[in-house]
């Protein structure tokens, strides 16, 4: 577990605390919690609940990025899987719906992995194909309209609660533990990092880099599928035009805020999820603040810049030099 939360998590935890404090300032009732119809209710729960899709995406994305790859298609995969789940929800049982949606995510991941690992395409180009085509596929499934459903089972996935905790939060936590157990409980995480650090050397040392790359894209697809199902369940409908739109960028941002380098070779699952929570804490804070919506993106950009500056090795080096200079002066 020590590998899950290394010392470098300090900057992220600090950033989260500062943003939470800022939220408390703009909205005095931010930390209030109560039970509403057997479900916890409050802004903190909103942060966790609304942060779920990006947190799930970042779980897959961080592994892809650790192999020095990137997956731009996760938003489109969300739309495809949400559309599949919504179209089947009222006529099939929940296990069938879930199997179909997650299966579609797996196939999407396999496609991306095939292009990158077997055909040797650049990840950014390979996944761009599905990013563009995927939304079209989702629109074909929904015929361009919002497909709604009433199946209580699927709705429960988006809006139900287990012991007061909304189901999406439980699912995201479960996925974090599962992913962590698989990649850190075995040598898998190390092999993924080796693939990203130096694919050629790893290959020569006997690491099955192709299999590693294929596996991370498949996992990324499955995580995106789950996020898509939750997003559809939340609004009781699949909106192919808007579901997951631009969320691939938020997922990459979450991973980067979590301190994982885009050059691969090192990753932290917990910090990637923390990155997703930082983004959502900020989003919810902006909504609560009552500022005109024209400021939303600007505020977000400034905060992200601040968090990234906090982690910049050059900048901390710069601060160190300044401190030394000051000390050198009489």
């Amino acid at each position: 577990m020590t590998m899950l939360l290394p010392r470098r998590g300090l900057a992220q935890i600090l950033a989260l605390i500062v943003i939470l404090a800022a939220d408390r300032v703009v909205s005095p009732q931010f930390f209030d919690l109560r039970l509403q119809d057997g479900r916890l209710f409050g802004s903190l729960i909103d942060v966790l609940n609304r942060g779920t899709p990006v947190a799930l995406l970042s779980l897959g994305m961080v592994l892809v990025i650790a192999t020095r790859g990137i997956d731009l298609s996760v938003g489109a995969v969300m739309a495809i899987c949400g559309a599949i789940a919504a179209s089947l929800a009222d006529t099939h049982s929940l296990p069938v719906v879930l199997a179909a949606a997650l299966g579609a995510g797996l196939v999407c991941g396999l496609w991306n992995g095939f292009l990158v690992a077997v055909l040797g395409m650049q990840p950014i180009v390979a996944t761009l194909i599905l990013m563009v085509a995927g939304r079209g596929i989702a629109q074909l499934i929904t015929e361009g309209r919002i497909v709604t459903f009433t199946s209580p089972d699927l709705v429960w996935l988006g809006t139900g609660a287990i012991l007061g905790v909304p189901v999406p939060i439980v699912i995201a936590l479960g996925m974090l533990i599962l992913t962590g157990a698989v990649v850190r409980g075995s040598a898998l995480g190390l092999l993924i990092e080796a693939t990203g650090g130096n694919a050629r050397a790893s290959e020569l040392a006997g690491v099955g880099t192709r299999a590693m790359i294929l596996a991370v894209y498949v996992w990324c697809g499955v995580c995106a599928a789950l996020a898509g199902v939750i997003a559809a369940a939340d609004i009781m409908g699949a909106d192919a035009n808007n579901a997951g739109l631009w969320l691939e960028l938020d997922a990459i941002l979450a991973v980067v805020i979590g301190g994982t380098s885009l050059f691969g070779g090192r990753f932290s699952l917990v910090l990637a999820v923390l990155g997703a929570l930082i983004i959502q804490t900020m989003n919810t804070g902006i909504l609560l603040s009552g500022y005109p919506p024209e400021f939303n993106l600007l505020v977000k950009a400034v905060v992200v810049l601040a968090v990234l500056l906090l982690q910049s090795p050059k900048l901390s080096g710069f601060a160190g030099i300044m401190a030394r200079l000051r000390r050198a002066k009489p």
């Binding site: 479900r39 909103d46 361009g144 919002i146 709604t148 939340d234 609004i235 808007n242 009552g290």
Partner: protein, 321 residues
């Protein structure tokens, strides 16, 4: 949608071959934007219905959101020597050259749903559009009338920042409620015209306004955001339509479903029937030479729970929304 359009086109072509050439009175080419929203799909279906009603032979070209496809379609309509061209322009500029070609071929062009750059005013016969400022006013007037003299805190779900429809619907609503000192917008945030964002933003409004107790009404720039907001209110233990009044714009089928359930109060219709008035204008122009006004404004109907929402739902659900 593309498949549908293709199918429709080939079906029309087959019909043309089967029928004697003089059976259809008018042939109209319609360059449609593409499948950008449910409303757009409904507009296409209603255009077909209106054409059938008037025995007009309508050829629809799906531009897949690209201006160059629309220009190609218009050129092909000119080559086929159609009687009139309908254009739902994807952007407002860059139409001068192709519209001049249509003018030289003496084919009248009618703009549907959106206007184009003012420099081209003499290049088209008329524009059939709704007035989105007026839509906002109708929504505001309904709320003012319903609330009466009592103080009312309104929260607003805006459309996408920078979209002209959002700015206009805001402006119209603001003008309407400015006359009533008891109506006040306390919070306004963008929900990007989507259900998911509408729900998320409403959740934050409820928390920021004392669990929703300080909110008397929600105004959403479109019905989809309102559908999301209604879910947020229900999950917060509030009764939308009773504790909190709702008024939104567009009149998509799902808002009528909410109205039947007593969870939505009013919507202002953005009619998908832009082609009907356009056909009439073209027919009058062709037969009697009547030149229509440059702008034909469609009606912005107010629909509430007393207007038989079940009936509205049934008539709209098959249109492709």
């Amino acid at each position: 949608m593309t498949f549908k359009a293709l199918f429709a086109a080939s079906a029309t072509a087959a019909l043309l071959l089967a029928l004697p050439a003089n059976a259809a009175e008018l042939t109209v080419g319609f360059s449609q934007i593409g499948s950008e929203s449910g409303w757009r799909a409904a507009e296409t279906s209603v255009s077909k219905q209106e054409a059938t009603k008037r025995k007009v032979n309508l050829k629809i070209a799906d531009a897949q959101q690209k201006q160059e496809n629309q220009i190609k379609a218009i050129r092909s309509f000119i080559a086929q020597n159609v009687d009139a061209i309908f254009l739902a322009p994807v952007v407002s500029t860059g139409w001068d050259a192709v519209l001049k070609e249509a003018k030289e071929a003496k084919i009248p062009v009618v703009l549907l749903d959106r206007d184009i750059d003012p420099s081209g005013k003499d290049l088209y016969l008329t524009a059939v559009t709704s007035d989105s400022v007026h839509e906002g006013e109708v929504a505001g007037d309904w709320l003012a009338k319903t609330v009466g003299e009592k103080a009312c805190n309104i929260v607003e779900l805006q459309g996408t920042v920078g979209a002209s429809v959002a700015a206009n619907r805001k402006k119209g609503f603001d003008t309407a409620i400015a006359k009533h000192a008891n109506l006040k917008i306390v919070r306004s945030q963008t929900g990007d015209f989507t259900r998911a964002k509408g729900k998320e933003v409403m959740e934050s409004f409820i928390k920021a306004e004392g669990g929703g107790k300080n909110i008397c009404a929600v105004y959403a720039h479109n019905d989809d955001m309102m559908v999301g907001a209604i879910q947020a209110m229900k999950e917060a233990g509030l009764k939308p339509g009773k504790d909190i009044l709702t008024v939104s714009i567009d009149a998509v089928p799902d808002i009528f479903k909410a109205m039947v359930a007593g969870e939505a109060n009013a919507t202002v219709e953005l009619t998908p029937n832009m082609a009907g008035p356009a056909f009439d204008a073209v027919a009058a122009f062709k037969e009697k030479g009547t030149v229509p006004p440059k702008w034909i404004q469609t009606e912005s109907r107010l629909l509430t729970a007393t207007d038989n929402p079940q009936n509205e739902y049934d008539s709209k659900k098959g249109l492709g929304y």
